[in-house]
């Protein structure tokens, strides 16, 4: 019984990463109709920014948790202005090619500079301990990851549901053209929204650095799963991204109790079933046009 409970925590930790990543994908897709295949690369960059800050400037985990997402968000905004903007409104295939190409470019550039074997990154001293939970001790840092990402997810959800900008994002996500025809300058917001989405990915990257191998490939492996999560939650749905993220995380971990192989399958099985039964996803409201 204890084991099941603790495994739930493991599921929540994994779910936290899915949620943060798919949240960013969802706002970007919603606002711009671009499936950002480079999302995993920015997750990886977030972790590397934290690593470089520590190595080169001695800047630790806590400042990095703020600096890295901001830096990546800024870079994302420049990128949106220079490149992404140009493919707005054309065949989605171009968006796929551009962002996929970008991800390869970033990944290989990092590989050239840092190699593939990965870089060390220590858990922040304040959270390096472990907490006793019944029969099992559980790393404090993981509890922090659960709490922190839940808080971030809720904050994003609140911002989307309760603020004027959130209202614009929701409207543009649902019907971009109509929103323009109602006099709302949707395109003014695409740059910050794109930056924000990438910032969330970078935040997930920093959170992952103490737990996962910091390597140029860390994002490309995770991103495939994240796409499954986004589809499960419903393309472009904020609530869906958060809920599906944690759901997939927990189900995978609980599944792993029975057989470790199940862990890798759950997301895709869930996606397949959902696509058959409810193609718009758990919370999707998108017409399948």
């Amino acid at each position: 019984m204890d084991f099941l409970a603790i495994q739930l925590f493991n599921g929540l930790v994994n779910g936290a990463f899915y949620a943060l990543l798919s949240l960013g994908l969802a706002v970007i897709f919603g606002m711009m109709r671009i499936v950002n295949f480079a999302h995993g690369a920015f997750y990886m960059l977030g972790a590397f920014v934290a690593y470089v800050l520590l190595q080169q400037a001695g800047i630790g985990f806590w400042p990095s948790l703020v600096i890295a997402p901001l830096a990546i968000a800024l870079a994302g905004m420049v990128l949106e202005r220079l490149l992404i903007r140009r493919i707005a409104g054309v065949d989605p295939l171009f968006g796929f090619l551009l962002t996929f190409g970008l991800s390869l470019l970033i990944q290989d550039a990092m590989r050239l500079r840092f190699g593939l074997q990965g870089q060390p990154y220590a858990t922040p001293a304040e959270l390096a301990g472990a907490v006793s939970l019944g029969a099992v001790t559980y790393p404090t840092y993981r509890l922090f990851v659960i709490a922190f990402s839940l808080a971030v997810s809720l904050a994003v959800w609140y911002a989307i549901e309760r603020t004027r900008l959130g209202m614009v994002v929701r409207a543009a996500t649902e019907r971009a053209e109509l929103t323009r025809a109602l006099g709302v300058d949707v395109d003014r917001w695409t740059t910050p929204v794109f930056g924000f989405g990438l910032g969330l990915a970078a935040l997930a990257g920093v959170l992952a650095a103490p737990m996962r191998n910091v390597s140029p490939l860390m994002g490309s492996e995770l991103i495939i799963l994240t796409f499954a999560v986004v589809v499960i939650g419903g393309m472009g749905s904020i609530k869906g991204a958060i809920a599906a993220g944690f759901l997939v995380g927990v189900l995978s971990s609980v599944g792993a109790i029975f057989d470790p192989a199940i862990e890798g399958i759950v997301a895709f099985a869930l996606m397949a079933v959902l696509l058959l039964v409810r193609p718009s996803g758990l919370f999707g409201s998108l017409e399948t046009s």
Binding site: R170, R180, L182, D185
Partner: protein, 230 residues
């Protein structure tokens, strides 16, 4: 004055509008009548800058709207109610009213909107997609009034509504007309059209077939019905 000259539009190779010219003055209600597929909705989309494949000129007063995108056209005074009412499922009733910008003094306050549409006040916090068809139509119109648009482009506002609601919308348009708004109404309901409009443009296969004043309608009703296929 809204003035359209020589407007043509295409969907790929297929021409949807041919050299359409029309005008509507402040305080005037003008309808576009015609069968399905005659090009009425396309004309409104062209006016809003939502349809790129077009030629011809659209002027509002002294201003050429041609180079403007949809957002700037709204700021120039156009208010658009699309044929599907343009309701968001992720926005509450009140958010629908708060979403568009407010343009000058002519913009309605929320209070005024709710006074005019009491049904909306009661459901202001609800998700708009849960409203009835008539309420959704009210909301779509209230939204452009709240904005303070000077030119209303309404795409079949009475479609599928109960007669009592149709009357309510007719009253609204009469009020708006009294406020010196310009109203371009796409309509298939001839009775409703004649109850509010000053002039009618009959559109057939992308062309203006004929123009007639409201008082001519009675005399030429047979001809009109033939064109409309009813």
């Amino acid at each position: 004055m809204l003035e359209i000259t020589g407007l043509s539009a295409w969907y790929g190779e297929a021409q949807a509008l041919r050299e359409v010219s029309l005008r509507a003055s402040p305080g005037e209600v003008v309808t576009l009548v015609g069968r399905n597929g005659a090009g009425k909705s396309t004309l409104l989309r062209c006016l809003m800058g939502l349809h790129a494949q077009m030629t011809g000129s659209v002027r509002l007063g002294e201003r050429d709207l041609g180079p403007l995108g949809p957002v700037r056209r709204v700021h120039a005074g156009l208010g658009y109610v699309p044929d599907d009412r343009g309701i968001y499922s992720s926005l509450s009733v009140e958010e629908h009213l708060l979403l568009p910008p407010r343009l000058g003094q002519s913009a309605w306050t929320l209070e005024r909107v709710y006074d005019a549409f009491p049904a909306l006040r009661a459901r202001r916090q609800q998700t708009a997609s849960k409203l009835s068809g008539g309420e959704q139509q009210m909301l779509a119109i209230a939204r452009v009034l709240r904005m303070g648009a000077r030119v209303l482009l309404l795409d079949e506002p009475t479609e599928g509504l109960a007669p009592i609601l149709v009357q309510q919308i007719a009253r609204l348009l009469v009020d708006a007309k009294a406020d010196a708004l310009t109203i371009l109404l796409v309509e298939q309901n001839l009775r409703f059209a004649t109850s509010v409009a000053d002039r009618h443009y009959l559109l057939g296969q992308g062309e203006i077939v004929t123009t007639l004043a409201n008082d001519e309608v009675k005399a030429r009703e047979h001809e009109l019905r033939q064109h409309l296929g009813i």
